[in-house]
Symmetry: C2
Subunit: 219 residues, 2 copies
Amino acid sequence: MSTPPTPTTPAAPPVPAAPVRRDAEASRAAILRAARHLLARHAHADITLKAVAERAGVSPPLILKYFGNKDALLARVMSFETDAAALLDAPLEDLGRHMVRQVVVSQSEHGTDPLLRIVFAPLHGAQGDMMRADFRAQVTERLTERLTGPDAGLRAELAVGALLGIGVMYGLARGTHVRSTAVDVLVDRYAPALQAHLTPGPAGTGGPGGADPAPGRDG
Amino acid sequence: MSTPPTPTTPAAPPVPAAPVRRDAEASRAAILRAARHLLARHAHADITLKAVAERAGVSPPLILKYFGNKDALLARVMSFETDAAALLDAPLEDLGRHMVRQVVVSQSEHGTDPLLRIVFAPLHGAQGDMMRADFRAQVTERLTERLTGPDAGLRAELAVGALLGIGVMYGLARGTHVRSTAVDVLVDRYAPALQAHLTPGPAGTGGPGGADPAPGRDG
């Protein structure tokens, strides 16, 4: 399969030999990217191994070798496990800023989003229900465990909702102002609302602009 | 096609005769509902008149009679014109609460959302780009025109982003806590963040947009 370098032919520049491991990693990444792309545009049932292989520029058997089968590949891509771990990897008092930064950087630098694929759950039938259950267990419930005080479950959902919102505006509605604003400015403007759900209180850990939601006054 | 009432048969209770106009309106509404449902699950190109007709329980020619053709029907369903008018129909100092209430009531009572179909833009190819342009012109730019002060365009997008977020959490991620919380509580908790973007306080960031929207106090 490998084409030997032909240094004597000027028309064909030498290709640097990549280590095998690097090739395998690149192929795996290309397969995951292709599956992610298709899952945002087609129903689970309509996605074929062949389509993933074509988009990734690999052969269908290679996908089977790396991921077992189509369902295992798509389940892996639909899972929020890895992304949620990175998203929640910050001290609670800075978590709002960290979460917004993770989403905006992911959107602006990679054109992806750690959580936004949940919006396509309606496309995927029974797999969509599994996706929602994963989202709950891997994202909102894990965040809930970090929170103290009343209504932690509701507050986690409201914070994650706000986070999904900026992802929608950036990556799906493609708001021109949001997309042309510096990451730090977006974090400064948008994170206080998340932080107010995560750590409500007069301490105002949300920083400037942090809504002061007057804890304990809810019915 | 119409089945005459059979009042002499006990097993078939008499159906009250509806005026023709009522039937037409019901059919139009059923067609729009069916198109909306399909647009949230299938690519624009994959949706057929026949599929819309079957789901709506009408004949394809009736759709043509009411809406002209498939593209005109789908364009109508994709437009945000009517929904945005209702969504923005409140004084600026109460607009954050009004917008959150509109979304939550629409989600909880009708299982629909005034704006959320924008998340499916990636499914619709070139029509998706038109949908984004409509969203910009009919929603975020119209909101921007209502705002005063610096960065109105960015602030409008951040407020609409937050609004989309609670719609995603309610209707697509189906958060259990959000879905079991009273509308008024959700409005109290979530609207201050929107209002802080719409009417930022004297400090230029949060201010009265926080827990105490204080209508009339903004400059």
